[in-house]
Amino acid sequence: MSEYASINEQLDWKKAEVIAAGVDSGAVSSKAVILLDGQPYAFSQIRTRMPKESAFSAINGALAKTDLELKNIHYLVATGRGRTQVPFARETISEIACGAAGAVRIWGPSVRTVLDAGGESCKVIHCTEKGRATAFLWNDKCAAGIGRYMETFADLVQKEVHEIGNIALQSEQFPKLSDFCAVYAQSEALDSIRSEVPLEQVIAAYHYAMAKRISTLVARSGLKKDFVIIGGLAKNPGIIDWLESILNVSRLATKPEWDPTLTVALGAALFADTFYRRT
């Protein structure tokens, strides 16, 4: 997972009427998005250690690129699992509502189903054309941690996590691994290595198994187009391609100007913008 911060240097915060921000305190990474009059201005993403300290790091990371200070932000909404640990948030909103809002903002009003495949959990969110969440399904415990386990798996096979997705697509044939549980799949993958299965095939097999696991969540929840995928796993082509193939659906492509992992933080910032305008 890469940590970064960046800003849109064409905007000037001193001229903005509404400076709104969202912080997404996720299990694996913490993200911050700052909007000026609804336009994206600054963002950052850092590794989560303890939620409170990481929330500060995330917002400070975004601010550091500007000469904006935390106190200049008119309204800040926190979301994500660790949202109650963000002391400088004015309000908290669930990542379900934020995911829906962010997704429609990024991909437009045709979005109806959002798969948030994050570090610690996967959820399927159904939304209206205005980005209002109408229903959701959270993964069961047996499907927890798929995102983080991808990193663990990459470490075990001594590859970078951003490489293995592409490697996974290189094999057409590969052994079958348990597609119910990541612990079993990982163990079986390690055993496959012992049986001298080529590395690329083991990586492909693991990705297929995890994609299958995630696909059952989507199938149970129901899928209405247009379909988008957000969260860290949205950047893993191995998972995405297999998911699309298993579900027989194409997702809308990632937008170049928006890292899909920032979608929920963006949603929080949009809420902040709205809440400020209402006061």
């Binding site: 590794r47 250690r49 303890m50 610690e120 415990k141 927890a144 663990t152 612990v183 012992r194």
Partner: protein
């Protein structure tokens, strides 16, 4: 120096490959290398580094005795292991060598954990291994340390400071991780989270131990034995005293040499 006197023990496991250089009853050098994907490469590196630590060259080795789940890859060229010793036997012989009074070793490794009971000669009496749901405890521990931003040493030090005795689900590493993250998101002190993680690992190992009668004295081996917090919980859960072997993760490699009969 007599060439035949140096023997290397090699224990290639799911997560780490361990090499030890011995001469008679003396341990001269050792090294651990991540197994990664290329077991043979890992084994070569481990052997080279262990030899360096022992102050000898690879050429001086009289032979390599292999154990561990990947030992079949080590039997063939280029490593050409002199012989192999099954893991349970290696554990028993190694543990007995390191502690003459021991009769049970609980080996908590990267992906697998097991308990082996043996007699005064190190011959097997009984064996139990974890069920599949409890795979990957070592991997989980490393992952959690990373998630908490701690080194493994820091994890155990913090865990020992906790007084809360929090519970997290113990069905498997996934449930434990899910609950540990939840604790963090509730603002729980990192020491208490580290302790809950350590206790989870100990509980799964203790659970395995309920399948078999453990004979005293009980020793603990494997990479996770280096965590005092885990050992403390384990001792309390199985309600018996345990001691940690020196060189806990090398027990298999040492036992391979001993078990092969390389040491008279």
């Amino acid at each position: 120096m007599n060439k035949g006197k140096f023997l290397a023990g090699l224990d290639a496991g799911h997560v780490n490959t361990k090499a030890v250089i011995m001469r008679e009853q003396e341990i001269l050098g050792y090294c651990t290398v991540p197994t990664g994907f290329d077991v043979v490469a890992a084994a070569q590196t481990a052997l080279n580094d262990a030899s360096d630590n022992a102050g000898i060259s690879r050429g001086e080795l009289g032979g390599i005795v292999a154990t561990g789940i990947f030992n079949d890859m080590i039997k063939v060229p280029p490593l050409n292991a002199t012989g192999t010793v099954p893991e349970y036997m290696a554990d028993a012989k190694g543990a007995l060598f390191l502690n003459k009074n021991s009769r049970t070793v609980i080996d908590v490794g990267g992906n697998i954990h097991k308990a082996v009971c043996y007699d005064q000669k190190g011959d097997l009496v009984d064996v139990v291994q974890n069920d599949k749901c409890a795979d990957g405890l070592g991997i989980f521990y490393t992952t959690m340390a990373k998630a908490l931003g701690l080194s493994e040493q820091e994890m155990t030090e913090l865990a020992l400071k906790s007084t809360k005795n929090l519970s997290i689900a113990i069905q498997c590493a996934l449930s434990a991780e899910s609950d540990a993250i939840d604790l963090m998101c509730q603002g729980t002190d990192i020491a208490d989270v580290a302790d809950a993680v350590s206790k989870f690992i100990a509980e799964r190992v203790a659970d395995m131990c309920t399948y078999m009668s453990l004979t005293k004295e009980i020793v603990v081996a494997g990479g996770l034995a280096k965590s005092q917090a885990i050992v403390k919980h384990l001792q309390s859960l199985i309600r018996q005293d345990v001691s940690v072997l020196t060189h806990p993760e090398y027990v298999g490699a040492i036992g391979a040499v001993i078990g092969y009969g390389g040491v008279k």
